[in-house]
Assembly symmetry: C2
Homo-oligomer: 424 residues x 2
């Protein structure tokens, strides 16, 4: 990879997610050379992917060109690349576009969907971790309704209109709520010649509550909201298989459906060279110390979802969400400069700013440290926070316009099958 | 296709473009059953496709769900279908989702890119008639610059940064202008480690002027604007081949390039059953009389790009643009009702509302019947007219936000490689 060597130390960052971008910004005006690599040329605002899948937002409004984030930074290089291996002995990364030496390496490769080894589920169900995946789901949902019009077989029609979401975390809950609103507000108008009342939305959750990471109050209220919207919430049920037609579970419960969304878990997106047992812990995450250093190295770090920093309060690492990623990226920026200046490092302390999830129109739950609230106000707070954390003024404006329009008109206009999924 | 027969006559419309949608709207509150079929579930605002290709607009803001256009109309059916054959004897259409009988048939299938039989050009060059095609071009342009960074071969790098647009009509001119602005305003910031000044944009035009359908003044001014933006305009040069690396022409001129956009012509998107020589004329269009009736039929019609209505002023049919399509759809709506009520038909008269093209920031040309003007004011008129004709309030708002942002910030933020084209 032809990146010139300068007198500045070279920091290679793998991944332009929340963690990688926060770190890059912190290093912007420092005497270091930074090379950021990502498989995509854009940063994805993952918390809003479910709105892309359900036609509420266009994909381009939750993506932001990484080169634009870095454009005013001197000594910055972006490369569109897949990292294939990390050579910790020779201090270089091997990518699909060539090798690159590093002085410091930061792995911020994030997480991917965890199918827990079930290849049949992986083959037949939909994931929602990237924009292309979310667009595939959008196409599939719409294609299903178009197909439901064509069949006279009642079972087949119902299977096309049944949606099974596996996993009751924020992704599953938010997607289920959005689908329920589409069922109520859009389907009867778009498909007057189809009995869309028989469409069903199911959440299947292996644990005994939804939104497990949040307060009992939030969890209960979210469940109430979902039930009010007509979503079926199944708790203490574990999905055992899905063959493309039938979902089986560890109970008597089965679902005939054409659409399973797998939101039951994520795992670290490990990279060869740092994927040996020595480095990896629960959930495929790389163990790091309080400075985000990978075991055995002083110059190799991991931050964000891929990193597992075990603390007393979080023995299995911090939740795989935006906040810990941003905070770790931020802090590591400071620490890298301290290392270069040979100053002592500052350990990472996670500031839990709370959690929130939206279920639908005027329906959200928010857990702050000292204040937990639900309903209309929580919904406004949810929107404000998401607008605030979106990168880019244009994105904020476009998302705002869409949200106002969708709210006033009970609508979601991006119900477009731009690239068909089934007919592909 | 399970669409119930009612006592109303059934009108089948093939195609949800400008013509088909205008017709459908006209029939909305009448005592007819209307079935509209399209390969996509959305209407595409084709005049702005070049802005999608160049990252100025998100695709979803120039698309509009067809079901939503029809949602308040009783007796309306939409089917996502490809029509495979028209059986004029049995009065039915054969589609990929089954057959359907019609009482009246309206072919509004539009046009597609015309490669004039050159399969090598067709294989290697990019077209820009649909949203997926425009997104492919967007990805390709961006991927080329990412790849240009990686090569040390100067010829290869230049080929990656050279863009050859074949055809000097509105599409070619508007795309060239947008690329020139990207070269000037965005590339130097996004690719500080690449000498983007050597990027070249060429328009190759077989005739002796660009914007052939417009006034000599508009054509000349557009050429001046393009030259000011650094676009190379080649007139009286005909492209003879492109093998993926080299463009050859009927002169000594050749271009080494990775990207050829073919905007040199369109032809009618004919359908089996109405594609015999009896029906077809120049440009693969279906000959129609002044009521848009296809020769030999009283109940089969063609409107828009696919229809060729020869008049004294337009011996080869009206230009293949939005205006004639909208006007024909509109008028045919009235005439269909007249046929059903057994009243005499009204012949179609084309009201030429003029033509316009934008070249770049503050640079457009407008030809009205009695007034031809160019420059800043023309640019405002161009924007206003395009906003006005866009379907949907949300689309207008989002496009407006983008245009204001792009204007103020000299930017185009949708430079996203959502689905890679080359690496696919």
């Amino acid at each position: 990879m032809n990146i010139p060597r300068t007198s500045f130390p070279r920091i290679v960052i793998i991944g332009g997610g929340f963690a990688g971008v926060a770190l890059a910004k912190k290093l912007s005006k420092q005497e270091v050379q930074v090379v950021l690599m990502d498989k995509h040329n854009y940063h994805t605002f993952q918390p809003l992917l479910y709105q892309v899948s359900t036609g509420g937002l266009e994909p381009d409004s939750i993506a932001y060109p990484i080169r634009k984030i870095l454009k005013d930074f001197p000594n910055f290089y972006f490369r569109l690349a897949s990292v294939e291996e990390i050579d910790t002995k020779k201090n270089k990364v091997r990518t699909n576009i060539g090798d690159l030496k590093f002085d410091y390496l930061v792995v911020a490769s994030g997480s991917k969907t965890n199918f827990f080894g079930n290849t049949e589920i992986e083959k037949h169900s939909m994931a929602m971790k990237t924009i292309p995946q979310s667009l595939n789901l959008r196409s599939l949902i719409l294609e299903n309704f178009e197909d439901a019009l064509l069949t006279s077989d009642l079972n087949e029609r119902n299977a096309l209109m049944n949606f099974v979401i596996v996993g009751g975390g924020p992704t599953g809950v938010e997607l289920a709520g959005a689908l329920a609103e589409i069922k109520k507000g859009i389907l009867p108008k778009d498909y007057p010649d189809l009995d869309t009342r028989s469409a069903q939305i199911h959440i299947v959750q292996s644990g005994d509550c939804i939104l497990k990471g949040m307060s009992a109050k939030a969890s209960q209220k979210a469940e109430d909201f979902l039930e009010k919207l007509g979503v079926h919430v199944w708790k203490n049920v574990r999905v055992t298989n899905y063959d493309g037609k039938m979902v089986t579970t560890d109970s008597d419960l089965t679902f005939e459906t054409s659409t399973v969304v797998w939101a039951a878990g994520v795992k670290g997106a490990t990279i060869k060279g740092l994927d040996a047992e020595d480095f990896i812990t629960r959930g495929n995450r790389i163990m790091v110390n309080e400075f985000n250093q990978v075991k055995g190295f002083e110059h190799i770090f991991a931050i964000g979802d891929i990193a597992c920093m075990a603390t007393d309060e979080h023995p299995y690492g911090f939740p795989m969400m935006a906040q810990p990623a941003i905070q770790q990226g931020d802090q590591l920026g400071d620490n890298l400069l301290k290392i270069i200046e040979e100053k002592p490092l500052k350990p990472f302390v996670y500031k839990d700013k709370g959690a929130m999830a939206t279920i639908g129109r005027n329906k959200a739950v928010v857990d702050l440290k000292n204040w937990k609230f639900q309903g209309v106000f929580a919904w406004y707070v949810w929107m404000f926070v998401h607008l605030f954390f979106l990168i880019g003024f244009r994105n904020r404006m476009v998302v705002f316009v869409n949200w106002v329009y969708n709210y006033v008109r009970f609508d979601r206009e991006a119900r477009l099958i731009i690239r068909p999924f089934k007919r592909n």
